[in-house]
Amino acid sequence: MSATVRPKTSFVTTPRATLAPRPPAVSPSERGTPAVDIRGFSFAYGDRQVLRNLEFSIERTAVTAIIGPSGCGKSTFLRSINRLNDLIPGTRHQGDILVEGRSVYAPGTDLVALRQRVGMVFQRPNPFPKSVFDNVAYGPRLNRLVSRRDLPDLVERCLRQAALWDEVKDRLEEPATGLSGGQQQRLCIARTLGNQPELLLMDEPCSALDPIATQRVEELIFELKRDYTIVIVTHNMQQAARVSDFTGFFDRGELVEFDDTERIFTSPAHERTEAYITGRFG
């Protein structure tokens, strides 16, 4: 299969499904199903096979860490969940990924809706050169999530959730690019929350931050997992051990091991996992 044609290429004025603000609490009937279900998923850039037959589930309102050596396909995996890889020509995939029970790769999937439901935080903070307010309001405006009147409330709520409100409440109209790196990354998290996502993907969100900013983001992740399902890729073993409930170890595009974080870090089942977390390779 070649790069999937985006179903929607129309202009700004396309009507979108108006989603009422979704209460983060999850109904009991949903509790049984995993938040993300990866079913025999493989992925290739042209001839280069990067993910091989992944098969595991990600639990709701928990933090799942993905660890593994550089180039093993962690970013590719995250970008497969919100289909950001579609932009790259010549990619192929097999199998499927279900987010909250809905297929990501079924034909006719609405990518706009998918990416609104699945938020992503990138390795380097990438705020828009707009005001702090406009950054957080970007998603809700784009996806017509709330009325203009309710926007300031939503922005404040997201900034509070991202533990940034107190630092920026007096400079909402100032350019976001003037914030420090750590603040920018928390702003990017707030911007993602603005879309009221079901799932948060974080690709090494702290790798460009200093230790103090890193700690703040980790605390934030800990807070957010009460309401959100979080998948975080990290190079930092301590970070994975600190913030996550579950850990998956990837090597060369395969899922070597997936288990409780505590189990992975105390008694991994596989030798490769142990070698990696004790720093003997990778």
Partner: protein
Amino acid sequence: MTTSLASEPSTPPDVQESRSLELASYGDRVFRWLLTLGALFIPVLLGFLVYELWQGSRLAIGEFGLSFVTTSTWDPVAEEFGALPLIFGTLISATIALVIAVPLSLGVAIYLSEFAPKSVRQPVAFLISLLAAIPSVVYGLWGIFVLIPLLRTTAFPFLRDAFAFLPLFQGPIYGPSMFSAGIILAIMVMPYIMSVSREVLLAVPDSQREAALGLGATRWEAVITAVLPYARSGIAGAVILGLGRALGETMAVTMVIGNRHEIAASLFAPGYTMAAAIANEFSEAVGDMHLSALAYVAFLLFVVTVLVNAGARLLIWRVARGSGIGSKAL
């Protein structure tokens, strides 16, 4: 150098090193002076240019003063000169050029940097840069032999019928006209605006696109709401570059504008620009006053160019500064 043996004399290398350092710093100083001189050369040249223009136009300035810019008579025989139609023509033709060229160039630049298949991007960008290398007299000839006949038989009658209520599109259609000049200018400045804005768009980091797409933007929305705002000051620079070209272009304009010292409401009527008038009349000017009037025009062209550029820059500075603030994007 640090591992010198005890038996070896340790001073010679040090001496040599300090001497070569001294030499280098001497070289540094010379180099700096040369560069400073080079940099000073530009303002000096500019000052000299202004002074010369001023000197050349003193006769006309003494005779007509500021009324030169507010009157429209241009009569070399009676030695009466007023440059208003020339200033008008310069500004209007450049405006027409930008109104046509900016959206088209931006569209092409966006297509090339965001949507075109890889195999199309380079060849088209190369062809566009070739367009910029065509001498303007060739554009002028093409204007006379191809563009004007085409406009006279198709576009102009259509516009006159469709927008009959607008004074802009009324009156007899000659062919050579303000509108033809604007279109030729648009074609001539497009390569510049296009290739510079393409470069600017290519310089927008992919992380900005990914941020927008990751938040649920379509590719178009990502361009409109993230890529273009990020690139706005660079694109504005591209437009200013095009504007500068349009204001100063001479040869092609004089070949298609009709060269008449008149202000007309209709874009179908012939006009004139400052640059075109100088080029056309300088060699045939007889009287001192006529020559001096042309130098005055040149001086004014200089002033207008500086003013328009400064104004555009100020505007952009405001926009670039203002749009980061205020929650009214989208």
